[in-house]
């Protein structure tokens, strides 16, 4: 890729951090959602272990 | 005729977070009857009373008054009930009389003299003009009872009305309930210990 691309017309200092942060936010959302779901599953398993009856 | 004016509670279910507090409770109460809801604490007695009063909406089940679900005409239903919660519910900075003026006055046009009579009836006429915060727990309970009397409402919902009362107080409350039902009123009384109510008194045990 030509050098010009990485310079972003002199605005590299602003453009690349934006895209990097965007990637970070996307990744965080995925990671947090996965962790949130896993935690919920664990809480349910623990609750079920405590009272197997688990009335409807 | 008096059989029609009544309370019907069908299959009330309430969850408190995880706990299934009320599991399909049903009861009926007709004019002239009193019902003692008993059971160890934590079995949802107060929750049941709050559901019946309309303060709390159950997840399932209905409460009807005079044949109509209370949700349809909540304000008419409220005009017909007198609710005495576990706490005597008085403003500490107001005198006993002022407390009655500002709570009974919202439901009925009533003058101070009649309110003083009610306070006399429950034995606390002497402290009518004292701020509620200086009264003892028993006296506060008696002021709350005077309020129930002054509402002159057909349906009484009383949550532990005997707490903090001496023997004379307990007898007074039992007497007032009997008089109320004798006049065709209805009384639903939550109390964790047993009590002897004459007349058409029934009992419901929340296990």
């Amino acid at each position: 890729m030509s050098d010009g691309f990485w310079q972003m017309g002199g605005y590299a200092r602003f453009v690349w951090p934006c895209f990097a942060l965007a990637g970070l936010v996307l990744a965080w959302n995925l990671w947090a959602a996965r962790r949130h779901h896993a935690a919920a599953r664990r809480r349910v398993q623990r609750a079920l272990a405590m009272n197997p009856g688990g009335d409807a | 005729m008096n059989g029609i004016i009544g309370l019907a509670v069908e299959k009330i279910h309430v969850w408190r977070g995880e706990r299934h507090v009320l599991k399909g409770v049903s009861l009926t109460l007709a004019s002239g009857e009193s019902l003692h809801v008993a059971g160890p604490n934590g079995t949802g007695k107060t929750t049941l009373l709050r559901v019946i009063s309309g303060l709390m909406r159950p997840e399932q089940g209905t409460v009807s008054w005079a044949g109509r679900p209370i949700g349809q005409a909540p304000l008419e239903y409220q005009a017909a009930l007198a609710y005495a919660s576990h706490e005597p519910a008085l403003k500490g900075d107001l005198s006993a009389l002022e407390n009655l003026v500002f709570s009974v006055g919202l439901k009925r046009r009533v003058d101070a003299a009649r309110l003083r009579e009610a306070l006399a009836r429950t034995g606390v006429e002497a402290c009518a003009d004292l701020p509620a915060r200086v009264l003892s727990a028993g006296q506060r309970r008696r002021v709350a009872l005077a309020r129930v009397l002054s509402f002159e409402a057909p349906l009484w919902l009383l949550d532990e009305p005997f707490t903090n009362l001496d023997a004379a107080g307990v007898a007074l409350v039992a007497g007032l309930i009997e008089e109320h039902t004798a006049r065709g009123g209805l009384a639903l009384v939550v109390a964790h210990h047993d009590l002897r109510l004459g007349g058409a008194a029934r009992r419901l045990d929340l296990n």
Binding site: V15, C18, F19, V25, N29, A33, R43, V44, A47, L48 | -
Partner: protein, 243 residues
């Protein structure tokens, strides 16, 4: 008549549908975002005024849109929960809040990085960014209120009501800030909004918008599954779902 709606909103079916939908939504999202990023950074022509700095719009505009969209979803589903007492409404509202808040932060930072070359400072109280900042406060308010209650059901209802009150105030806040801003500098010189864009600039933006929306849907369905489990712990179907 409403049975299809209740069946759709029934927790077990939502839990299953969300599980099936997530991978497709995620794949679509990453595809659209990849295309949009490459096209936007490498092939779209620079802006005649802002040069290559304008490319930040490809992440700023979609995240600003999602920050608002996420709040709308939170308010609407919260209202559904409050009015029809459907637990699923609360679950979706609780799931949407953190996602929307994260994109609000992204919109704020990208907005201020984009503004820096034009204004000479990272924060010049641009009306759009100020509204975005207040939106972040609204998000934080709703999320803190929900977690302030021990009883989750009560927290859901309180947060739903605050979200509805908030969504009514969002336009009021937006126009008040616009009015306040017009007092001092008149219309901001550099149009922050979407300037009239030729196709070569516009396609990557549409692709990024689509990608971000699909991504939002994917993460929302992942979080809804967790929120449903939290709220349906005592139901029998949960046992099968968790094995």
């Amino acid at each position: 008549m409403w049975t299809w709606f209740y069946r759709l909103a029934s927790p077990p079916s939502v839990y299953r549908i969300a599980a099936v939908a997530t991978p497709w939504l995620l794949a679509g999202a990453l595809l659209a975002i990849a295309y949009g990023t490459i096209d936007g950074l490498a092939f779209a022509p620079p802006d005649y005024q802002q040069g290559d700095a304008f490319r930040i719009i490809y992440v700023h505009a979609p995240s600003a849109w999602l920050s608002l969209f996420g709040y709308m979803v939170m308010a609407v589903t919260g209202a559904i929960g409050l009015i029809w007492r459907i637990k699923m409404g609360y679950a979706v509202a609780a799931a949407s809040a953190p996602i929307g808040a994260s994109f609000t932060v992204l919109a704020l930072v990208t907005g201020s990085l984009w503004g820096r070359p034009m204004w000479g400072t990272y924060w010049a109280w641009d009306p759009r960014l100020t509204s975005e900042l207040i939106l972040l406060f609204l998000y934080v308010g709703v999320m803190s209120l929900r977690s302030a209650f021990e009883d989750p059901a009560r927290g859901d209802r309180a947060a739903a009501l605050l979200a509805v009150v908030g969504v009514v105030n969002v336009p009021i806040i937006h126009y008040s800030v616009q009015w306040w801003n017009s007092l001092h500098q008149g219309a901001t010189v550099a149009k922050m909004g979407k300037p009239e864009m030729p196709g070569s600039m516009l396609w990557p933006l549409l692709s990024m918008m689509l990608g971000f929306m699909l991504f939002y849907a994917a993460v929302l369905s992942m979080r809804v599954r967790g929120e449903v489990l939290n709220r349906e712990r005592q139901s029998a179907w949960v046992r099968a779902a968790v094995e």
